[in-house]
Subunit: 134 residues, 2 copies
DNA sequence: GGGCCTGGTATCCGATCGGATACCGGCCTA
DNA sequence: TAGGCCGGTATCCGATCGGATACCAGGCCC
């Protein structure tokens, strides 16, 4: 599927994700907490475990393993052990996984388009609940 | 926003949702467990609490209240208490909530389009794990 | 006044999620 | 042979999710 794994694939930007993403306002979820970020990381080509941990700042091995296993079980990501010289474990999107990027993009776009409304609604709700309680 | 609440609005089909929807295979979530179903129920117009409980077979008052409150806080659903003669509590989609139906439809469509692949991937994963373990 | 229906709340409980921490075996290199 | 990186696993813990059950206040109807 991917001929030669990673000829000169640029390394992942350690800051590709906003560390203070206000995700609680976003009404969509794709997989578990880290899944959408993992999918993004794999968009450019196969990556190894330790490579994924860089932009996913703060993720523990356990969480990353768990997320990857779930994506694997769903058929969205494939795990392969490469022999020498590229030696290591590589994770790559399957066709199905790549297809998932479409809806993911759509969800992101919708959120961006309605960001102000989401903020407003959230603040209004906070005010209203402050009126009623406390 | 809605002139006269519910003139001859057809009542909800108690069987509008498949009781054995295999949702664990679906990689998307919109809000909490019941949120997408609630949104669907409100698609046709404002509904009262007890009306919503019909197609959402088995939902408890607590869960429905919780789900509705969350949707309210997010600005997707509005709660209004109607005086006589329509007397009662009505829940309706806001503009933002109605907008949410777009991405929701898209997610449903994607899932339908890739249903066979999702099933296959899931069964293959089950086989593979059976090979490795037990 | 004694039912009902409506629209909830209060409490408890088990399951799951996700982070913190510690540990580990295989391999490469110095 | 010692230390490092790589790719994890094992254990514990607190927070959250979601169901079960019980209860309740207000209004209408007889």
């Amino acid at each position: 599927m991917n001929e030669r794994p990673r000829e000169e694939l640029p390394s992942l930007d350690p800051e590709m994700f906003d560390p203070v993403c206000p995700s609680p306002l976003v009404p969509f979820r794709v997989g578990d907490k880290w899944a959408p970020l993992v999918l993004r990381c794999l968009e450019g080509g196969p990556r190894r475990f330790s490579e994924l941990k860089v932009p996913l700042r703060g993720i523990t091995s356990k969480s990353l393993t768990h997320s990857l296993r779930a994506l694997e079980r769903g058929g969205f990501v494939a795990r392969t052990e490469e022999p020498l010289p590229e030696h290591g474990v590589y994770y790559a999107l399957t066709a199905l996984g790549r297809g998932l990027l479409g809806p993911l993009d759509a969800a992101c776009a919708w959120t961006r388009d309605h960001w102000d409304e989401l903020i407003d609604a959230h603040e209004e709700a906070a005010l209203a609940s402050a009126d009623r309680g406390v």
